[in-house]
Amino acid sequence: MAQYHQFDALVVGAGGAGLMAALYASKSVNTAVISKLYPTRSHTGAAQGGISAALGNMEPDKWEWHAYDTVKGGDFLSDQDAVDILCKEAVEAVIDLEHMGLPFDRTADGKISQRRFGGHSNNETKQPVQRACHAADRTGHMILQTLYQQCIKNNVRFFDEFQMIDMIVIDGTCRGVVAVELKTGEIHVFHAKAVMLATGGFGKMWKISSNAHSLTGDGPSVALRCGLPLQDMEFYQFHPTGIYKMGILLSEAARGEGAIFINDKGERFMERYAPTMKDLASRDVCSRSIYKEVRAGNGIGGKDYVYLDFRPERINKYFEADGNPRRVDAEYIEKRLPDIIEFVRVYMGIDPITEPVPIQPTAHYAMGGIPTDLDARVLLDENGAIVHGLYAAGEAACVSVHGANRLGTNSLVDLIVFGRRGGKKMAEFAKQTEFLPISQEVHKPAEAMLNGIRNNDGKEHPGQIRKELQLHMDEHVGVFRTKQGLEAALEEIRGLKERYKRIHIDDKGVQWNTDLMEAWELGCLLDLAEVTAISALARQESRGGHYREDFPDRDDKNFLKHTNVWSDNHMSYKPVRMGRYQPTERKY
């Protein structure tokens, strides 16, 4: 017997997107949140640099400039009506967070402090603009804490350490989810009028990754298994500055404060690739430039990494060269970037104030995901039909505001803006609808699937399959892609999926069985890896985060469109919603 619960609105995931949605839904309907992690453990807490909004606290800024930067950053694949909402509502959303108590850093006159970030510019002067609102380099931590605090204040109901393993979708309507209570191993059915998937990203497909162990794409994968499409899966962002070999992120805020990339010859090589924005060019451009340097033999000691240099005297030297009057000292850098400086000290054993830091691109952010409309309602197909009662927001979703490449700070904006819109819409919907029936047996397939994994006595080891998956993805579905590479990866992934059917796990128990849940999560990663490779193979052009060496140019004639892919591997495309901005060549 499964335990049964009923809520008007059910949010799956307690990161920034889920908590924002829950907060707004709970204002008027009976709302619960289930999360496989304690809410404050969500990876939103790892976000470092900032959340952008054209507050204009430091210098003139306009939300329209933010919108243009977002569209350009996304290599013109973003839906421009969604981008307008993102950038316009960002201003109000950031103020909303401040009113909830978020401890932003302050300017001398007491306003929210802002700093520069990659790809954000004054559209008139083309120079970097200070738009990223921040709390040291712990902005995500503060957002997550603040939203959780507000949820406690508003008595939002939490089911902590409950993991969704299936969704109840019948006749195009979502009626709830099936989850495991990790502590007891019991199955629970959550019957709901409105469900939101806010389960975050899936960066654990790759080995070198900034993502948490828990980011295994459960939401998108369950959606796929329920017959829903995923959008733009070929667009995955590799952030240029991961700690060498570990992938731990060093925020772009470092470069926002003046840090630069240096190759083995001591050159500031970004000058050659992005003459205007230089080290603050968009992430896809920086990551490719790093690997171009490495291929040209300019990696440090001929190896596969370069330096990120935040020594104050070097920063000042380049400020001077750029005609920028700012100057920094060690104390300032320590105060603005305390966490990432500590990461370097702890994990690399070097001091970034006196030594340059070895970095390499790291798998970071999913631009693609569960397609939604402007109110976070999940789309059933490429024609805009919706799945009634189902919503998605945050990194798991694809609105699409980030297009082919997300600008730094825009994910946090996305969580807050579309989390809030989704939460409001869920409440509105729940108030005008009844609970639709579900059968008493509705949890049986999920239960059987889990028991199947638990009792399987094959020879294959999930740890080994995970390792091989990550290696293939790093090698062939990374910053540079080719037809041969992607085909090889696809074959490997399909081979791994076959082997996955014959796994065995050690822990046959019921309570807190992480062996079991990790094996289930591996299944999610395998499904998502497959559709990522398929989507990437089909897109014969280069755009934003998707770079095909065999098709190095953007091809607006054939590919200015979003990919939808289904679990049976069929694909379709739909047009990008254009607006004020027509595609132009992207220069930084």
Partner: protein
């Protein structure tokens, strides 16, 4: 290098008592203790259970007692942890063990909720941000860093003795709001912390400050709350 791990194991479905699991792991000196635990789990014994997520000291999932001292397994490197080729890992103390290194965190979060860990200010904030000077903001900066990992609370002898003590983590959370110039709930929180289960249980043993993986001056924060209770002033 080869490292010998002694890990305290307990499976509620099988074991009456905990026992030591022993594992030899091949690890780099610069690996995290968490990496080695993952190696045990993924390559030697899949039945080992522990919580983890971010793997870089941000989410607060993997507080454990490593060689007798509370740490985040992901923030402690093998070279700093290993003693005579050995690393001993146990669950944090003072909270009921559920399975292996996983303890029941509910009592910890109940204490957290008890101090009203949210901004209390019922005035109309207006259209723009509430203003706060950099100095006012700096006043509570240290306590905003808390990730609720429970390293501090579960290293505190007063908490071991009486689990109804709210504990250092909850006091740090209260401090974060009491000293925020925008907050108006200080009196209510001080009422809670002035109770017998509140700050006076603190005997300034300093364990909390020593183990905090975020380097929060926990004992100092507790001291400031005590001072506010005694003087009735917040400054």
């Amino acid at each position: 290098m080869k490292v010998h791990f002694k890990i305290k194991r307990f499976n509620p479905e099988k074991d009456k008592k905990s026992y030591w699991g022993e594992y030899d792991v091949e690890a780099e000196e610069s690996d995290r203790v968490l990496d080695a635990l993952q190696t045990v789990k993924w390559e030697i014994d899949g039945t080992l259970n522990f919580r983890r997520s971010c793997a870089h000291g941000i989410c607060g999932s993997d507080a454990m007692r490593i060689n007798g001292r509370n740490s985040l397994a992901c923030k402690l490197l093998i070279r700093d942890a290993v003693q005579g080729g050995k690393i001993v890992v146990e669950p944090i103390l003072g909270l009921p063990v559920i399975k292996d290194l996983i303890v029941d965190m509910e009592p910890f979060f109940a204490h957290y909720r008890a101090v009203m860990p949210y901004l209390i200010n019922d005035t109309e904030p207006g259209e723009r941000e509430r203003l706060q000077s950099p100095e006012e903001r700096a006043r509570f900066d240290d306590s905003t860093k808390c990730i609720l990992c429970a390293c501090c609370t579960t290293s505190c002898p007063s908490f071991w003795v009486r689990g109804d003590y709210v504990g250092p983590a909850a006091i740090v959370q209260a401090h974060r709001f009491i000293f925020d110039s925008r907050d108006q709930g200080a009196a209510k929180r001080l009422d809670v912390l002035g109770e017998p289960e509140g700050v006076w249980r603190c005997r300034t043993v300093f364990n909390c400050s020593e183990v905090c993986p975020r380097d929060i001056q926990v004992t100092q924060a507790i001291g400031e709350v005590k001072a506010a209770l005694i003087t009735g002033r917040i400054d």
